[in-house]
């Protein structure tokens, strides 16, 4: 039996850089900026008060040394890598350490410097292998989703396409209200999205997340200590990380219209958080919109929409800023790009602002519970994280 993390820890400070093509900043610059902003966001907290660090990056640094070197701290630093869910997993492990009572104050900090590679997408260092993996680009792997979704639920492909366009349009529209940090902060008309040349299947660049550099950090303490640090802590209600057996796409019946890893992961997090009706109970959600069809399917896998209904709910605006669940109110990966090690913590940063009522013109009305969903991999082989957070204990 596993112990519950519900109301065991709280986030009391956060920092997040601007995301974008930050040619004038190094990975260290971004790390320093996010970490020191997070510390500065907690009145009276000093760098030396942070007992331990969890540092997430996929390809921008090795071991824990970049944090110790950049911040000039003599503390335990653990590097976490779990594909695109690395940032969330850094948070998760820091939360465990604090809940265990080992540390009073821990920081999770995620950094990625993607653009320096010179490639227009994520690059990974793969270990020597037998080179039998089929070479499929990320957009192509996700481009298989819309048709699979249409077939699974008998939905007209044109309706699915309109839903994807709405997701791209809405996330960019939300990002347009976030010029301080978003990579892209302008509204993109639906006609422009529809007319964009396709790069893989029925997807255009507007269906893909951007590519950017960025960093974000969170300060974590025990829930009972939280009010010593801030009068508006954010409490962890439940979280789950699930690494699939890499046979999701091989499972007959699912066939790219659902992500089994996410379904399992969400069920565990909801059970811990006491969520029985996600659509009713959760006010806002930052979800992993790496591609627009991903977000469409996530609405069902996270329980925000009934099976086969997400396309309709999306078009009805149910996940817009003023909808039943405000999804990606900060603009999501669409507007922020995807500096892999940082994205999970960037999602948490928007949740932090929203649940504290500090999201400005993006502010969701009276939110109580928020969710972050962060995942890595490709259809068929995912790691998935779901976290549920609230602004009140109990």
């Amino acid at each position: 039996m596993t112990a519950s993390m519900r109301d065991r820890i709280a986030i009391v400070g956060m920092g997040c850089t601007k995301f974008g093509e930050l040619w004038d900043k190094s990975a260290d610059d971004l790390l320093i900026e996010a970490a020191l902003d997070a510390i500065a966001s907690v009145p009276g907290l000093r760098k030396d008060d942070v007992d331990a660090y969890w540092y997430s990056t996929v390809a921008s640094g090795h071991a824990g040394l970049p944090v110790a070197k950049a911040l000039k701290v003599e503390r335990p630093v653990t590097r976490v890598e779990n594909f695109c869910a690395s940032g969330s997993d850094a948070f998760r492990n820091a939360a465990f350490a604090v809940a265990a009572g080992v540390y009073d104050v821990a920081m999770a900090v995620g950094v990625e410097k993607i653009k320096d590679s010179g490639y227009s997408g994520l690059t990974l260092n793969v270990p020597p292998g037998d080179n039998t993996a089929t070479e499929v680009s990320n957009p192509a792997a996700y481009a298989m989703l819309p048709a699979a979704y249409s077939r699974a639920y008998g939905v007209d492909p044109g309706d699915v396409r309109r839903a994807l366009t709405h997701i791209a349009w809405r996330n960019h529209a939300n990002g347009a209200r976030n010029p301080e940090r978003a990579q892209y902060a302008s509204v993109v008309p639906k006609e422009k999205i529809e007319k964009a040349p396709r790069i893989a299947g029925n997807l255009s660049v507007f269906d893909c997340s951007g590519v950017s550099d960025g960093a974000a950090a969170a300060i974590i303490v025990r829930a009972e200590d939280a009010l010593q640090y801030t009068d508006k802590p954010i409490y962890l209600k439940g979280m789950s990380l699930y690494a699939g057996m890499s046979n999701g796409a091989a499972t007959a019946g699912v066939e790219h219209a659902s992500f089994p890893e996410v379904v399992q992961c969400a069920a565990a997090a909801y059970a811990e958080a006491g969520i029985t009706n996600p659509r009713e109970q959760i006010s806002m959600a930052e979800v992993h919109d790496c591609f627009t069809p991903t977000e469409l399917i996530l609405m069902e896998d996270l329980g925000f929409a009934e099976r086969g209904r997400a396309w309709r709910d999306v078009l009805d605006g149910d996940f817009d800023l003023d909808g039943a669940v405000a999804v990606n109110p900060d603009g999501g990966l669409k507007s922020f790009g995807h500096p892999v090690g940082a994205s999970g913590l960037r999602m948490l940063f928007e949740l932090w602002l929203q649940l504290r009522g500090e999201a400005g013109e993006r502010q969701v009305k009276a939110p109580r519970l928020g969710l972050t969903h962060n995942m890595g991999g490709l259809p068929g082989e995912f790691v998935s994280f779901v976290g549920v957070f609230g602004n009140e204990p109990g």
């Binding site: 490639y119 690059t123 292998g129 070479e135 066939e255």
Partner: protein, 463 residues
């Protein structure tokens, strides 16, 4: 004991280049008839040899010898016959050997016809733009399985072979170049005509079959000379095999003699004698007596409906024109130890099936989700047909023929596989399209090829 031919098969790539297209590109005059075959950008001599050998059927597994002949070996020093061996599931005690040079195709045939086993002949023929070698060349492969005894499945019996070697500069290529240099044609005509005459006499004497063979085919680089040499032998049959081969396929280097023999056997009747002559560096000949009416039902038949490509594609696919690559990370170079450990998967497309619950894993898995550990048996999908579950174009991945195509393939088992599709354009595929597996050169890093399997729509290649 008399050796017999038990099976034969050919492989011709999906693509063809019409001679009028070549002439139009180079001279602005679209003239010339017929077409040559062109190997796909993801094919080479090894991959085509694998395809032809696989088509021989189950007898390959038991063969004790494998002779792989090509003038276009993708690697030197290393024996590429070992790749053919691994990819065709031959048993682990077979002898595998590479042969090279234009005469190597005949050499492989002769060796297999004497020792038994497989002769796998494959070649790509290139030449300098505007050369006859380019226009009249072709790409393809042929494979033959020889064994013992005249009963049962035997297609033909080996009556004998003969050779008339002549040291002559008739055609040669210097290391590192992609085109042959050719001797003055009237001189070559003179030398080879005499050699062929002598070899025909010699094989009659040696085999005791001195009469004119029912069918004769002659493989030599020059198309006109090949025709006149064939005519000089005086056989009634053979032009129906040789003429369409030169018109629709082209001279296929080391594989040419095999493709000609296969065509001759296709139209032969029981009791016919078939003489196949390789003319070059003198002449070599092999004489067979046909035991069954052709065509042999085992090998897949040519449909000759290849997809036409442009001259620039031909040059690009052969590496003569460097296309701007997509801005993508470098592909991983071939790591020898993992490829060695995973040979059954990489070369044999053999996954595993759990003995406890029956679940199939592609690639193989030691631990099953049901809890069983190391309770598996091999499960190959190389020879299975499958259907496309879902598919997409991929305009982002680097490909010499964009957009790349990817699909999730269902083999009717629990194991599914994400694969690249080849020999297809986006209009050719849809959910539910039937596919078959094909062994391909997926890419090369610093000239070193990487091989794995792709899917292609069924019955697409002009085999």
């Amino acid at each position: 004991m008399t050796k017999t031919l038990l099976a034969y098969a050919t492989y011709l790539p999906h693509y063809r280049l019409t001679r009028s297209t070549i002439n139009a590109a180079l001279k602005g005059i679209p003239r010339g008839s017929g077409a040559r075959t062109v190997a796909g950008y993801d094919e080479d001599a090894v991959s085509m040899a694998v395809e032809a050998t696989r088509a021989l059927g189950a007898g390959v597994i038991e063969a004790d010898h494998l002779y792989f002949a090509t003038t276009n070996s993708p690697l030197l020093d290393k024996s590429c016959s070992l790749i053919v061996h691994a990819a065709t599931g031959m048993h682990g005690r077979a002898f595998a050997l590479d042969l090279t040079g234009l005469r190597s195709g005949f050499g492989a045939l002769k060796a297999a016809s004497e020792s038994g086993g497989v002769a796998a002949l494959a070649d790509l023929r290139t030449g300098r733009p505007g050369s006859a070698e380019e226009t009249d060349g072709g790409d393809g492969a042929a494979a033959f399985l020889f064994g013992d005894g005249v009963g049962g499945d035997a297609i033909a019996e080996v009556l004998g072979s003969a050779s008339v070697p002549r040291e002559v500069m008739d055609a040669w290529r210097t290391p590192g170049t992609s085109y042959a240099l050719i001797g003055e044609d009237r001189f070559v005509d003179h030398v080879l005509a005499h050699a062929v005459q002598e070899v025909v006499t010699e094989i009659g004497t040696r085999s005791g079959h001195t009469g004119t063979p029912t069918t004769s085919v002659v493989s030599t680089l020059n198309r006109r000379l090949a025709n006149s040499l064939r005519a000089s032998i005086g056989s009634e049959g053979g032009s129906e095999a040789q003429d369409p081969h030169r018109e629709n396929t082209g001279y296929c280097g080391a594989a040419d003699v095999g493709l000609l023999l296969a065509s001759a056997l296709d139209t032969a009747r029981a009791g016919d004698t078939v003489l196949v002559v390789s003319a070059g560096g003198g002449a070599d000949a092999l004489l067979l007596r046909v035991l069954k009416d052709g065509p042999y039902a085992g090998g897949r038949r040519p449909d000759r409906v290849g997809k036409e490509i442009g001259y620039h594609q031909h040059l690009t696919w052969r590496g003569e024109v460097a296309r701007e690559p997509a801005r993508r990370p470098e592909r991983p170079s071939v790591a020898a130890p993992p490829a060695y450990r995973n040979s059954a998967w990489k070369f044999g497309l053999t996954g595993s099936q759990c003995l406890e619950c029956g679940k199939v894993y592609l690639p193989p898995a030691r631990v099953c989700a049901c809890g069983a550990v190391d309770q598996t048996k091999p499960f190959s999908v190389a020879d299975l047909t499958g259907t496309i579950v879902t598919q997409t174009t991929d305009g982002v991945s680097d490909s010499p023929a964009p957009p790349a195509l990817a699909a999730l393939i269902d083999f009717g088992t629990t194991g599914r596989l994400l694969l690249e599709l080849t020999d297809a354009s986006p209009a050719d595929i849809a959910d539910g399209t039937e596919i078959e597996m094909t062994f391909r050169r997926t890419y090369a890093v610093d000239g070193v090829p990487n091989y794995f399997w792709k899917a292609r729509p069924r019955d697409r290649s002009s085999q």
